[in-house]
């Protein structure tokens, strides 16, 4: 075990970690937004809309994430080119980000939907009784209350997403794990590097999940 090699590799490891975190944060934001839209569609009284959203969720929850990542890597540049009418190359980062957003949206959708359904009918009626429209009641009362209840679950799901970003090695992206592995190969200290990577993943994930538990206690009081 030679940890000096790890220390020397800090700059590139740092870049990898930055990419991992960037991907996580953007995917969570996009995933929650798409997931909320899907949840509203699923709960909509318009049959077609709720059926389509239901199909989307069931589909993405039934296929492996790795498949989505590789598939989107090929298909996204084509789609973007078709939409914009240009032929600019799309980076692996963008296609991975879109893959994660759309995949995680299916999971976020189910969390948001449960959250919306947990808000009492009385609160919704109170909003209507004051003259609010359906979008106003959703935006001003139901969603803020639902997000309050859901925050721990959403964060828990985000921690899983953080770990899953390591799958981007499949399309050759240098995320934290991939940097650690290749540095390990180069220096012949693979074990040391993997041990270190595991430690970093553990500290971040466990730390975040401990924070979530504390937050959960605060929110339920």
């Amino acid at each position: 075990m030679d940890f000096t090699q790890v220390i020397q590799a800090f700059p590139s490891l740092g870049n990898g970690l930055l990419l991992t975190l960037e991907l996580t944060v953007l995917a969570v934001i996009g995933g929650v937004i798409i997931g909320t839209a899907l949840a509203l569609a699923r709960l909509s009284s318009i049959r077609v809309l709720s059926w389509l959203a239901g199909f989307y969720v069931n589909y993405f929850r039934s296929i492996p994430l790795l498949l989505v990542i590789t598939w989107f890597y090929f298909i996204v540049p084509f789609m973007v080119g078709w939409v914009t009418g240009t032929n600019q190359p799309i980076g692996a980062f963008t296609s991975c980000l879109i893959a994660f957003m759309m995949f995680e949206a299916a999971y976020f959708c189910e969390i948001v939907r449960a959250g919306i359904q947990s808000i009492s009918k009385g609160q919704v009626n109170a909003a209507y009784a004051l003259g609010m429209t359906y979008p106003q009641a959703m935006r001003l009362v139901v969603l803020p209350l639902a997000f309050r209840k859901m925050t721990p679950l959403l964060l828990q799901q985000s921690i899983i997403l953080f770990q899953d970003t390591s799958l981007v090695y499949a399309v050759g992206m240098m995320d934290f794990l991939n940097v650690a592995r290749s540095q390990g190969d180069i220096t012949g200290e693979l074990h040391t590097f993997l041990l270190f990577a595991g430690l970093v993943y553990f500290v971040i994930s466990f730390g975040a999940s401990t924070l979530v538990k504390r937050l959960q206690k605060r929110l339920t009081v």
Binding site: S120, Y128, A129, L130, G131
Partner: protein, 246 residues
Amino acid sequence: MIRFSNVDKWYDREHHVLKNINLKVNVGEVVVVCGPSGSGKSTLIRTINQLEPVERGEIWVDEVQVNNPRTNINRIREEVGFVFQHFNLYPHLSVLDNITLAPIKVKKLAPAVARERALELLNRVGLAHKRDAYPANLSGGQQQRVAIARGLAMQPKVMLFDEPTSALDPEMIGEVLQVMQDLAKSGMTMMVVTHEMGFAREVADRVIFLDHGEILEDTQPEWFFTRPQHERSRQFLRQVLAPMHG
């Protein structure tokens, strides 16, 4: 102000909850609705702001038919305040924000104006000192008084109350009834579902007795308490008045 003509309502197509309802509430009147549990009192007053649709008949508020598909029901709801049995304050907002939310977002009132009006109303219900508190930190009686202020902040023409004191501990009922009595004195048109017969006797201009979805009595309190027309109303009165004399 409020008029029902030949209104019928069914739940699930078979349960006939409102049967040929005809009634009128004039401007400035206070009408108490009472009747056994399950007789349709909540359903009746929820049809006025269309929280419950009806299958037959017409309901009018002022010169507008509320159960007409072409009516913008949100405009009606702005003018019809509703106070729920379980308060239904917004737990994520402070007392002041609970009151100003709809005036700002629905009525598009300037926040400063809405705030000033809310403080005035809080004064009126005796809770100015609680303006920054959250609902969870208020007693039931205080929450209900805030809910009344929230309804009044929209400057409604009518206030509807659905058993506003039945979820309260006995010692808090008085403070809420007092606020409602003051409101009645100020000339507000009110329809109140309640079992508080003292309030009916003191404050109401008329009492309506509902049983199995039918209006059996619609009369002055004096007549209702001394000369009820139906056996069912006599029985009901014996039940609700008994504990007070026992």
